[in-house]
């Protein structure tokens, strides 16, 4: 059980990314953080493994207390917590296997890790790649894989940690819809099978409904909804995405070049 207790994060530019957020993440559940971009989903996730330090409030483990208590505690917590990123965060010129092995680094001291990691770790890494169906791509360079495959390598890297929890920051946002669904289904299945707690941020309501055991809705740095998929109704969606929006059908306004006419309107206004 991971607990977020009244956590506020204010960045150096005085933007309040997270505003007195409290949430709990019970063991083995698949929890979705739902909200538009800028709602604070990434910040919340990064608080859960100490990549972002709360300005105030506490992040704690049921069994281990404050995750930021000391360096050893944080390292131990991060080792048991895999993270998956929107843009995969792989090193393109290394092989898939080498990338997955990054998940084994924390199991060794700095000096030991200067040498090639032991065979046992390589087996764990290869097993993780096999789990996501990429054992045959183990020796391919990461930048030669497709987007979906790269994200599966990202998942394998998290699995190589033999994690208790996985944090996933918009894991399928940079994939096409069909691939996104496949990758998320894979992540969901693995977490179920292994009893891994998953905290996954998404902006697609549909996917949140399909996979979330529990959904936290975020808007403007605040948690505005906490419930199950069934409780996620139109009124709630209004609170998350702002009134009169149906985000599953209508993705936000497209960024377009302002036309000369609009430019003039803006100037004369």
């Amino acid at each position: 059980m991971l607990d977020l207790d009244n956590v506020t994060v204010r960045y150096a530019n005085r933007v309040t990314a997270l505003d007195a957020a409290s949430a709990s993440f019970p063991r083995g559940q698949f929890i979705v953080l739902l909200g538009p971009s800028g709602a604070g989903k990434s910040t919340l996730l990064r608080c859960l493994n100490g990549l972002v330090r709360p300005t105030s409030g506490k992040v704690s483990l049921e069994e281990g207390g404050n995750i930021l208590a000391n360096r050893a505690a944080l390292r131990q917590h991060r080792r048991r917590t895999g993270m998956i990123f929107q843009q995969h965060h792989l090193i393109g010129r290394l092989t898939a296997l080498q990338n997955v092995l990054m998940g084994r680094l924390a199991f060794h001291g700095t000096l030991r890790s200067l040498l090639p990691l032991p065979e046992a770790d390589r087996l764990v890494a290869l097993e993780a790649l096999d789990r996501v169906g990429l054992a045959d791509r183990a020796l391919h360079r990461a930048d030669q894989l497709s987007g979906g495959q790269q994200q599966r390598v990202g998942i394998a890297r998290a699995l190589a940690q033999r994690p208790v929890a996985i944090l996933a920051d918009e894991p399928v946002a940079s994939l096409d819809p069909a691939t996104a669904d496949k990758v998320l289904a894979l992540l969901h299945r693995i977490c179920r099978e292994d009893g891994i707690t998953a905290v996954v941020s998404l902006h697609q309501v549909e996917l949140a409904r399909r996979y979330g055991d529990r959904i936290y809705g975020l808007a403007g740095g605040r948690i505005v909804f906490d419930g199950t998929a069934a409780e996620l109704d139109a009124v709630t969606l209004d609170r998350i995405y702002g009134p009169a929006s149906i985000p599953s059908v209508q993705p936000g306004p497209l960024q377009t070049e302002p036309s000369a006419a609009r430019l003039k309107m803006a100037k004369t206004a």
């Binding site: 990549l51 965060h89 090193i91 290394l94 990054m102 998940g103 924390a106 700095t110 890297r157 000369a260």
Partner: protein, 265 residues
């Protein structure tokens, strides 16, 4: 509508004028520099050209009769260039990690390291060569030390720049997995910049070969020593022969460097 267009175009014209003014200033500075250094003094050129012609005729045909005496010095020069590069790399890498803001443990240390690198860069290797010859005596060793120390300033700066522009995303991933700061550097930063570091190193090696030829002039071993001896004897035909031998070696070293660079991509 037309009013908006007019404003945009006027803005664009102002930008064009600024660029033209800047170009005029740069041009004026260039001319001034040439004038101060006496480039527009036609008389000196008129007198100098025949002297240059005289030297050139004395240089041909090149006299290769002493070639056996140059083999060992050329080999020394090659060894100096490699040894100087190795030493420079070994010292540069840790300094570069300290000098790159994204890997440096703190801002002050980063600034201090940068200053040290700038200082090393600013002392020409020929001066370092004179100093080391005085300290450890004639031969290849002072040459190697001079090359390495000067290069640390250069290589360290280039390494640090490569490290600075590394993609931060894989670093975050390693940190999230519980890697120590040192592990992040070794396993996430270095693999990303390895091709650039190899590139910088090989260029530096090529440069070292040419520079070590010059260092011989102050007594720091290698083929430069022979070159200086020939110059002192006013044996310009030998001078040209030595220069051609150096050129041949530089071509070989550069080709080898290019080949290695490709292999390490």
């Amino acid at each position: 509508m037309s009013q908006t267009y007019a404003t945009i175009l006027a803005e664009e014209r102002r930008g064009g004028m600024r660029r033209a003014a800047l170009a005029a200033i740069v041009f004026a500075v260039c001319i001034a520099a040439l004038w101060i250094t006496g480039f527009f003094d036609g008389r000196r050129f008129a007198e100098g050209l025949p002297a240059l012609g005289q030297l050139a005729t004395e240089m041909v045909p090149p006299d290769f009769t002493r070639w056996q005496h140059w083999l060992k010095p050329l080999l020394d020069t090659l060894a100096m260039s490699i040894a100087g590069t190795v030493l420079a790399v070994v010292i540069s890498l840790p300094l570069a990690i300290l000098a790159a803001p994204n890997t440096s443990p703190n801002a002050l240390l980063c600034q201090v390291t940068r200053t040290i690198l700038a200082f090393l860069r600013s002392v020409p290797e020929i001066i370092l060569g004179v100093i080391f010859v005085a300290a450890v005596g004639f031969g290849a060793l002072p040459g190697v030390l001079a090359l390495a120390l000067h290069s640390v300033g250069m290589v360290g700066k280039f390494y640090a720049e490569a490290i600075e522009h590394v993609d931060p995303k894989p670093l975050e991933a390693a940190r999230a997995a519980g890697a120590t700061p040192m592990q992040v550097i070794v396993h996430s930063v270095l693999p990303q910049v390895f091709p650039q570091l190899a590139d910088i190193t090989l260029y530096r090696w090529e440069y070292h070969f040419r520079a070590s030829a010059v260092l011989g002039i102050v007594g720091a071993g290698g083929i430069g020593f022979e070159l200086m001896a020939a110059l002192r004897l006013i044996a310009y035909d030998q001078v040209s022969a030595i220069l051609l031998s150096i050129l041949a070696c530089v071509v070989v070293v550069d080709a080898l460097g290019a080949r290695l660079r490709k292999a390490l991509k």
